[in-house]
Point group: C2
Chain length 153, copies 2
Amino acid sequence: MAAATQAWGERLRAQGYRITPQRQFVLEAVIDLGHATPEEILAWIQTRSPGVNLSTVYRALEVLEEVGLVTHAHLGHGAPTYHAVDGEVHVHLVCAGCHDVDSVPAQMAQGFVDALERDRGFATDIGHMTVQGLCRRCQEAGKPTRSRGVDRT
Amino acid sequence: MAAATQAWGERLRAQGYRITPQRQFVLEAVIDLGHATPEEILAWIQTRSPGVNLSTVYRALEVLEEVGLVTHAHLGHGAPTYHAVDGEVHVHLVCAGCHDVDSVPAQMAQGFVDALERDRGFATDIGHMTVQGLCRRCQEAGKPTRSRGVDRT
DNA sequence: GTAGGTGCAAAGATTTTGCAGTGCT
DNA sequence: AGCACTGCAAAATCTTTGCACCTAC
């Protein structure tokens, strides 16, 4: 997270944005939480600054994403989760059973990404990629891949 | 689509569900449209049966997914798109520039999927996988990967 | 001083749910 | 005839927007 925290102010300034405590809080929350929805980010922030508003979180995330300090991925359902761009690009694994999120290094998908580039000329945004499936624990628990009214992905 | 249409009734009956014209319409719409959101499915249906309600579409999709006749994938933003399970499993490519959706055979991702299984014990639901990026056309158009207020993924 | 930013409240968009009537089996 | 299904309307989510005030620069 070093790179992200050190010059985060400059990144904003360079694009004509201002540095505000709210934006700093949002960035810290994202870094600290790892994966977080806007709601979770708000909750984190409110433990130290209760007055902050949810719409501010949304707007801050938009700006921080714009300048490349955070990204988001769609983990299923309607929940976007944000995470810091801390150098290590990773792919998200979402379990349909327990909804846990795991991350794997982007290079595990390199072969696939290269194939897409070669075959389709498609430039993959690896960090945005989400893989749905069942984690080891849920497989062992014998959960079916899809069960009525439970799959909220 | 042969397999899907031939015995679709049995699939429902087998799980204790009933066969209704609305469900047939929804299935036909999904097969015909290829990729479709609930709204699009409703629009398709209403050209031949105006009375059908959106909530019925949602409920029908839930049931059809339950019995394995359709699946959905998250193409970004909050938009789930449904498609028929017609034998050919595929991965979705979504362009962040033009929002076009392309499909590639699941086996292109086989190496990646195997690696996840081996390394993490994670059982991937390939058909549910969505890859974000830029299609060839948008790359050539020189679109940036992310531009203010435009990336609705 | 003056953009840009924030908080608040209201508007949007999308999906779900309760209920009474309808129709598949 | 019984119970699942549908249509309708209201509720629940989640996200965006308008506006007046505030603040970083």
